[in-house]
């Protein structure tokens, strides 16, 4: 059964703030976050009964928002690579970011292997524990633990580069 206008309105008010906040946190860009907000709700509307029947619509929206935003970051990174490949050499108009440029969550995520990104979002952005992450990602708690270990290794390797953050013991 499709959504009525009133239902869409209610859903947006009930869940929109969370979706927008998370999209902002992951993407680090207001305009992109609002795009993501709209896209997530378009998907929810299209899902119809599938979404309505979710035991926790919030959990569904978390998952969709995370995947959408990470896909955006990946696509953006690919475009940036293409631009870099075709950019003029420094001194001929290329813009080189300064070393003191603020490292956003998006930039940190972009430097992580893809298989770590989703877990990193849930762990650092959403402050989930490992059991919650295992459930929402659909992997074992053991796998989550291993991924976080990989993250710790990356953090140690990157010490001094200011690239990745810390994992709570």
């Amino acid at each position: 059964m499709s959504f009525s206008r009133a239902e869409i309105d209610a859903l947006y008010r009930q869940y929109g703030p969370s979706v927008l906040r998370r999209a902002r946190a992951i993407l680090g860009n207001e305009a992109a976050a609002k795009d993501a907000l709209q896209e997530v709700f378009i998907r929810a509307i299209r899902a119809g009964d599938g979404f309505r029947g979710e035991a926790s619509p919030m959990t569904w929206l978390y998952r969709v928002t995370t995947n959408l935003c990470l896909n955006q970051l990946r696509d953006h990174a690919r475009r940036a690579e293409l631009l870099a490949e075709n950019a003029p050499p420094p001194g001929e108009g290329a813009v080189v970011p300064g070393h003191d440029e603020r490292l956003t969550v998006a930039r940190v995520l972009a430097r992580l292997p893809e298989e770590l990104r989703e877990i990193a979002v849930y762990y650092f952005v959403d402050q989930m524990n490992q059991d919650e992450i295992a459930e929402i990602v659909g992997v074992s708690r053991h796998t989550v633990g291993n991924r976080l270990e990989e993250f710790r290794a990356l953090a140690r390797a990157a010490t001094g580069e200011g690239v990745v953050g810390s994992v709570a013991p």
Binding site: R13, R21, D35, I42, A168
Partner: protein, 253 residues
């Protein structure tokens, strides 16, 4: 360093607190016990709750309407360069109507044009044709306006269910646009499941009319037309130019 936990794993996650604030969970049992003993989680819960009270001002929703980004670049961000080409190519499809007009009849020389630009289910961005345009639930529309004179502009949708909805702006006073300049209005609408014809009316006024005024005029026009958008010829807004586009909302295949 930007990726850091602010709360230990023994604390409540944002997901749990979001579900609580959204009404999916009740504050009882272990959850209530933790909150009563953890200031960090209480603060975070209160923060998330406060965030919700600001949301309606930040992202307006009236029925199916949702604010999108403020510029074409933002709105088309997912579409990339192909979308930009589609938008540029759509200029040839500008539709000019003057109210009162007969359904489906174009008029010229009003100095006001309205173009509906659809984001399709498959991500394509395209302008609806001047007549016989179609869109489906879940797709999104934006509104491109050009006024010969500097004016305050607003857009209202009149649908087959007899409902008038402010599309742009979503609330408050109509924004101003420069003379003879294509302007992609703030806001977009995600189409709901109400099928059938929908008339989208744009008005351009010297004064900053309110959206409420436009919606009220739209409701009167629909009532006069027996709630049939195709039979609406104009909305009664004194002293304003207006134009409209009639399209058909059809079910998804």
């Amino acid at each position: 360093v930007t990726l850091e936990r602010t709360r230990p794993e023994s604390c409540l996650s944002d997901l749990v607190l979001d579900r609580l604030v959204a009404g999916e969970l009740r504050e009882e049992g272990e959850l209530a016990a933790h909150l009563s003993s953890c200031a960090a989680c209480r603060d975070r819960r209160d923060q998330l709750a406060a965030e919700r009270t600001r949301f309606p001002d930040e992202v307006f929703v009236a029925g199916l309407a949702a604010n999108a980004a403020r510029t074409g670049r933002r709105w088309w961000a997912f579409g990339g360069s192909a979308a930009a080409v589609a938008v540029a190519g759509a200029a040839a499809l500008l539709l000019t109507l003057r109210g009162p007009v007969e359904p489906g009849v174009r008029t010229k020389g009003t100095g006001l044009t309205l173009e509906l630009i659809a984001r399709r289910a498959d991500g394509r961005i395209e302008a609806l044709p001047a007549t016989g345009g179609r869109a489906s639930p879940g797709e999104a529309l934006r509104f491109k306006i050009r006024s010969a004179r500097a004016a305050h502009v607003a857009v209202v949708g009149l649908d087959a269910a007899g409902v008038a909805t402010a599309y742009a702006p979503s609330s408050g006073a109509a924004p101003s646009v420069a003379a003879a300049t294509d302007t992609l209005l703030d806001g977009s609408v995600v189409l709901d499941e109400t099928l059938g014809p929908e008339r989208v009316v744009a008005v351009a006024c010297e004064r900053a009319l309110s959206v409420d005024e436009l919606v009220a005029a739209g409701k009167r026009a629909l009532a006069t037309a027996g709630n049939a958008p195709a039979r609406v010829t104009a909305v009664e807004i004194a002293g304003c130019a207006q134009t409209s586009v009639l399209y058909e909302k059809v079910s998804r295949k």
